[in-house]
Assembly symmetry: C2
Homo-oligomer: 467 residues x 2
């Protein structure tokens, strides 16, 4: 499939000057080996790998600043790298340049227990953080499935299965430290829970995909581990019925922690991959957080809604092992789906629509898949109106690639027509640049004006978000 690259061109002369300077400054922590470079331009998706010219393993904000200063002087691109779980080519280096690897900046700097907050270096992953926090009765709720770094999650405005209750990275970042293109190290906000002190630069950097600055610390909201957690599974006769049950649940104000749709094809994949025996029907996976009484009240309310819509049986469990098995299966949905067609490639789509349009959007999308003859199971964070299809294709078959491109373009157009977005949580990166203007029109020019103001030389992750 043709990759929608921004028109960025390579500055060979600058790169030839900058790399030796970085070698001198960072020694073995500046790696120009081919395997390392390719791994840092590799994405778990259909986009072509575009390797940087060097990978630098940083250990502090001052080191990041040193790289930025060298790269600015020689007009060399800088691409941030967490663990590389991006699906939209965020870590690619279309014009070459330096990949800044944050894996050594992996310390939890502070836990502010009384404030339900913490400050971490950007290379801390969400699982590392939750492991660190467990004994204190606190957790960080955002869960995109992959064990992504918190810097990367902030940079791409990640969310995932818990967002319906706990929000996205937008809602859970209190403050950031970042190195800007001009080499300044800024702190975007105080630690106060709310503030009206000028423009919201925190929210501007969250989701900016490394194009405005490199995040060097993240101050996050935490939540108390709930007194009780329970899980439930409920099959439905149709995808529409499952979507409608979701809509009613949200409208009723039931504070579900997770409400995930898997269509019948995805259930078949999960059964095979995770050794489950779920009925092969569209199914909701749910999780409830609260007091013992609260989780029972919530699950009874959802069970009643499900029954009203022809769903059931509603299987409820408070046993941690049942819950872990269920959510592990949900997290493995991507791998389970790939196993439906051995050797295939997978392209994950990511539209999000107002929940009132969800059933309609999913149904139209399924009809389109059937018409095009594409194999693509569906999973969705349906409480937010967000769902993914995983298009399974033979990437060497031009006809299949063409069909997939047609499908994805139609899906984006459909989401925008239904007042939604082409990306609920994966970001624009390289993969969705061509859909952004259809969605937001002149707002894209505002973004570009800000980009030009803060990074006039275009050194921060060029070729991402907009042309």
């Amino acid at each position: 499939m043709a990759v929608a690259h921004a028109r960025v061109s390579r500055n060979d002369a600058g790169i030839a000057l900058a790399v030796p300077l970085l070698k001198q400054r960072f020694g073995e922590r500046c790696d120009t080996g081919q395997a390392m470079r390719e791994q840092h331009g590799h994405t778990t998706t259909w986009l072509t790998t575009e390797a940087p010219d060097a990978v630098v393993f940083v250990e502090s904000a001052d080191e990041v600043k040193a790289i930025v200063d060298i790269c600015r002087e020689h007009l060399v691109p800088i691409v941030g790298f967490g663990v590389g779980t991006s699906l939209e080519g965020h870590v690619n280096a279309p014009a070459g340049g330096i990949s800044v690897d944050f894996s050594r900046m992996n310390r939890v700097l502070e836990v502010y227990e009384e404030d339900l907050a913490c400050k971490v270096e950007p290379g801390v992953t969400r699982k590392m953080l939750n492991e660190y926090l467990r004994d204190r009765g606190l957790f960080f709720p955002i869960d995109p499935g992959a064990d992504a770094t918190l810097g990367g999650m902030a940079a791409t405005r990640a969310s995932g299965t818990n967002a319906v209750r706990y929000g996205t990275m937008r809602d859970n970042v209190i403050s950031l430290e970042a190195v800007l293109a001009n080499g300044e190290i800024i702190r975007t906000a105080s630690r106060a829970r709310k503030s009206s002190a000028g423009y919201d630069i925190t929210r501007l950097l969250v989701g900016s995909e490394g194009t405005l600055g490199l995040i060097t610390s993240v101050t996050l909201k935490l939540s108390g581990i709930p007194e009780a957690i329970s899980a439930a599974v409920c099959p439905f006769p149709t995808v529409e019925a499952a979507c409608n049950a979701t809509i009613l649940t949200i409208q009723s104000g039931i504070p579900v922690a997770r409400i995930e749709l898997l269509d019948e094809m995805q259930i078949r994949a999960v059964n095979a991959y995770s050794k489950l025996e779920l009925p092969e029907r569209p199914t909701l996976f749910l999780e409830f957080h609260g007091s013992e009484a609260g989780v029972h009240e919530q699950s009874e309310a959802v069970a009643a809604i499900a029954e009203e819509l022809g769903g059931g049986p509603f299987a409820f469990s408070t046993r941690p092992e049942d819950r872990s098995r269920l959510w592990q299966a949900r997290h493995d949905a991507y791998w389970a789906a790939l196993a439906l067609r051995p050797g295939c490639a997978g392209i994950s789509t990511d539209v999000c629509v107002p929940i009132s349009r969800l059933a309609e959007c999913v149904e139209e999308t399924r009809a389109d898949l059937a018409e095009l003859g594409i194999l693509a199971p569906i999973v969705g964070h349906v409480g937010d109106g967000n769902f993914h299809t995983l298009v399974l294709l033979d990437n060497d078959d031009a006809g299949e690639r063409e069909k997939a491109a047609t499908f994805i373009a139609r899906l984006s157009e459909r989401a925008v027509r239904m007042e939604g977005t082409c990306t609920g949580e994966h970001g624009i990166g390289q993969g969705k640049m061509k859909y952004l203007r259809a969605e937001l029109g002149g707002t894209v020019d505002v973004m570009k004006a800000i980009k030009t103001a803060l990074d006039p030389d275009g050194i921060m992750n060029p070729g991402k978000i907009f042309y």
Copy 2:
């Protein structure tokens, strides 16, 4: 008190050209009468009134665009006006220019019941909206006390008593339509509940105080009216005990809808003004939202915490009339406080600190008030770490003005030292410009770069936020 104005200068020649053009375009809806102009440059605070040269009553985004186009051509300032409840001089026109009055843009454009959302014109006030929504079982939770317009609340990132549970305007605006300085009308986001589609321009405009654009419609999240609402009042032996009870409540994850502190002086004022008979001690006013069982569970949990900290008696009520009386008294706290010293002026401060520092910050502030001999009752949205002192002063007494200025500067410095902010919800406006850099350092330069990029001629509300 000296007013910390930005260095903005008046363009008499441009104003002399623009006003007749606006008169021609808008007829009687362009008002240059002195009373109307002064009312539009009037703030309910200590700042000097600075009237615009004309007030235009707009009826559509296209009309706003027409004003912006004329003002840009003649380099004339444009100041948005909702109902004028700002406390920090946001509606002042230090370099003259045009006040754009949104009171005629007061239609609820859409209610998306299934999506728990609505779209309104900027001149709709929160009470108008809630009146409109009541029969549908929905409400808009943000409540800053004053019946402000939703455009103004978005522009200043307002919050208030419900923010501890429902968030601030930052969290409750889904999308905005706005007219930029270049005359473009943009829509900042889709209606999807979450999105990773590029920079968060919605959040950039929320809190930008009219300095980047004029908001012409607001798409908002709504909430279902809770099944049960109850209120409670609980006195404490000390302010510290009340703060500590608040901290424990938040840490325990109890989803209180409101938790407000009134110190003993404020209780005395409220008793006199609202004819209540509360014990004259530091007191928490609380509200609980949820199911019948849920609100009882919540209030019992808070009552237990209060008792542990020496508070009580904990008076709980589910009667709507008790609740209304209590919250009306809370909302009238400003007027009640002013009545403590007839004829005085009032300056409301607005710091917000991490909740772990709240008791310490309030105590140091009270000691400072005592040392300076300033009369200033305290009310606070303590669940967020946000509190206000209302400095009661004779504005004609230079010594009192001087003392008040000393107090406010020390308070801002104290909040910043405790990792908090000089403004939790009132905004920077004119009044707090001098404190912003101490709080955010080089982040202010990022704001200025964005301002210059989007409003190169500086016509959008000049003299606000930064110098």
